[in-house]
Amino acid sequence: MPATPMTAVRRSASHRAPPPASPGRPGWRIRLSRWDINYTPYLLIAPFFVLFGVFGLFPLLYNAVVSLRTWRLDDPTRDGWTGLDNYRAVLADDRLWNAMGNTIGIFVLSSGPQLVLALLLAALLNRRLRMRTGLRMGVLLPYVTPITASTVVFGALFAQQFGLVNNGLASVGLAQVDFRAEKWSSWLAVATMVNWRYIGYNALIYLAAMQAVPKSLYEAAALDGASQWQQLWRITVPMIRPAVLFTIILSTIGGMQLFTEPLLFDTKPREATGGSDGQFQTIAMLIYRTGWKELDLGRAAAMSWVLFLVIVGLAVVNTVLTNRLSGGGRR
């Protein structure tokens, strides 16, 4: 997008006829204005790139350097280059694969239902409803609730002995569940927190995209006898494909970096072990634990890079799949 207008501006600038400058005067005013036209756009977008460089790119590269070194806070005598040793140790550590499994498991349990429900919610909100604006703002409330506060509340809901969920299970005659004890139950609990938080947020993104879908398409479809359901899947979803792609990528990144919810769901959050047997320790938690609790920054940096590469890989897969599925391979 930015490339076209900018080159247009530049071309028009260079095509402008040179002014009849009076001999002896260099025409600094004109040079200034040419400089202005050529470079001001870069100046205007510079803040983003400067900030990205300082807070994004630099840490990334610095992390790469750290990952090739031994850096143990509790044993400074061992500091030094180690080549790929950290990566070898990390990849051989079954805790990494356990955390990877947990992260992907929770991601699947959260992102799938979350995006489908968000889509349905957006379709509902897109219709003529009473108090439409209020409802639309309302779905954003979970998103603006401080994550710590909501996690504490969910922690109480899923508590084993006095939790509301277990009370509910008991009242319909089902067995009590110690949600933190098993993988499936802890994943379910954490995914519920994530879903609750992000369904409304994603719904609003979909809703904004749906507003741009021409009404005439629906009218034509309705004339042809298409049901609401068919309209949603045959017209709305294909038309808002970019928004869908955007939310899928965002939720992939968010899901892979999941940290606060599982951390605070634990009864011993300070240690970041994700349950008694790592049932819900995500990669981000493992990185945090390795770096700040086991004080091994080199290994934590190597894990961060592994996570980074996984996210990049998943983003590529996402893009390809989403294009295939909803776009019929166009582009």
Partner: protein, 425 residues
């Protein structure tokens, strides 16, 4: 139009200039307190209430060139921030409190702290409980912190629940009921039978820690070798027995469920360092007068307590040390005890009437001014290895699996041992 523009330009320039001045101020602020007459500002980071609010004005009145900035934060956050400041090499306060449970982590980074022996702290060594002094001494012999309080260790129990289950309620008799941990288990079984199957203790985790601390050797010997078959094994047997006999409510300390059970009698006894009194009073005010405090089985004990440390990156380490030195003097230590109940780390003070005669009305007027000092005196000095924290976390996680019913018996011990070995690698 032109004037408007130039005015806005001038305003902008003034703003920039002001910002520059502010940054300049901030720059010097770091250094010498921002005041021209050479006053020094000391930043002190700690958590909760260390009872300093009324002491600071007294110190600054006597030392007009010192200003003290108290920063009471969150317990976990303060430790985490301190760790990050140490790595970054800047940002640390002039004086930082360190909790006993984090002592090893920071002691391992002794070179990032002022060696207090260089400032003359060695003169106080004999005033301290030996184990407390040792805890923040690095293997190279650097003294990282000076103790300001200890937890001691006792058992808090519910007199009403004990009575209903047919157990004695008088604290002398209760202490006599459990001289050893075996006797404690037996008392638990009596409680369980007498109460119709109620849970005796809150959970196994803090008991595991307590028993291990009473052993001559903990997770690591002084040779830094993992010694699981010594002290840890003894603690493990007791803790898992509590679970296997059905005496434990299997709750995690400091969780909402634990708090709720404390309020509604979900357990009758728990490990109880001095600072736990305040916690129980805060969480379960409805139980006032229904508690009492007994001596723990197996002798003494300690859990918690804190130390003052001085990060080496500070520019006023001399002034910081002088303030810390003032804080650990008897007069201030007694004042802190009176204000917030923190038990001093210096045994000579235990004979002060202010401490010795102190009773806690919430706990049935238990003579806590004697119980906690007695248990703190009896602590076995125990070497804490470099990786003690990691091993402790690994073992207590396996104990949690036992409490969750996922594993038991010899298999559980094998798992605890192998997890400990992995953490110690």
């Amino acid at each position: 139009m032109f004037t408007l523009r130039s005015r806005s330009v001038r305003a902008l320039a003034a703003g920039v200039a002001a910002a520059l001045v502010l940054t300049a101020c901030a720059g010097t602020h770091d250094g010498d307190g921002g005041s021209p007459e050479g006053t020094v500002t000391l930043r002190v980071n700690y958590w909760g209430d260390f009872g300093l609010d009324e002491l600071v004005p007294r110190y600054t009145a006597a030392h007009p060139h010192i200003r003290i900035q108290l920063n009471a934060g969150d317990y976990s956050q303060q430790h985490e921030d301190l760790q990050k400041f140490l790595v970054a090499g800047s940002g640390a306060p002039d004086i930082a409190a360190i909790d006993e449970s984090q002592a090893v982590q920071f002691r391992n980074q002794a070179s990032k702290f002022v060696n207090l022996l260089d400032k003359g702290a060695g003169a106080y060594e004999d005033d301290y409980l030996p184990w407390n002094w040792q805890l923040l001494r690095s293997p190279e012999g650097r003294q990282v912190g000076l103790g300001t309080d200890v937890g001691g260790q006792a058992i808090c129990y519910r007199t009403d629940l004990f009575e209903a289950a047919g157990l004695p309620t008088d604290r002398e008799k209760v202490s006599a009921l459990w001289p050893t941990w075996e006797a404690f288990l037996a008392a638990g079984k009596r409680y369980e039978q007498g109460s119709g199957g109620k849970k005796f203790v809150d959970g196994a985790g803090l008991f595991l820690e307590m028993v291990i601390r009473q052993q001559p050797v903990g997770y690591f010997g002084p040779d830094e070798k993992l010694a699981m078959d010594g002290g840890p094994r003894v603690g493990w047997e007791l803790a898992t027995a509590l679970v296997a006999e059905g005496l434990s409510a299997n709750l995690q300390p400091f969780t909402p469920e634990w708090n709720a059970a404390m309020k509604n009698g979900g357990f009758a006894a728990l490990t109880c360092p001095a600072w736990m009194q305040g916690y129980i009073q805060g969480q379960a005010p409805n139980t006032k007068g229904r508690w009492d405090i007994a001596y723990p089985p197996g002798g003494g004990g300690n859990l918690g307590g804190s130390f003052w440390s001085i990060p080496a990156q500070g520019r006023h380490t001399d002034e910081a040390y002088r303030f810390v030195e003032w804080l650990i003097q008897p007069e201030q230590q007694i004042a802190i005890f009176k204000k917030v109940g923190n038990l001093p780390s210096q045994p000579a003070l235990y004979d002060d009437p202010a401490i010795r005669d102190f009773r806690n009305p919430f706990f049935n007027d238990a003579p806590v001014g004697r119980i906690f000092p007695d248990t703190a005196r009896k602590v076995t000095p125990q070497y804490q290895g470099r990786l003690t924290d990691q091993v402790r976390t690994a073992v207590s996680n396996v104990l949690d699996q036992v409490q969750q019913g996922k594993i038991s018996g010899p298999a559980a011990w094998e798992k605890a041992r192998s997890e400990a070995e992995r953490a110690a690698r």
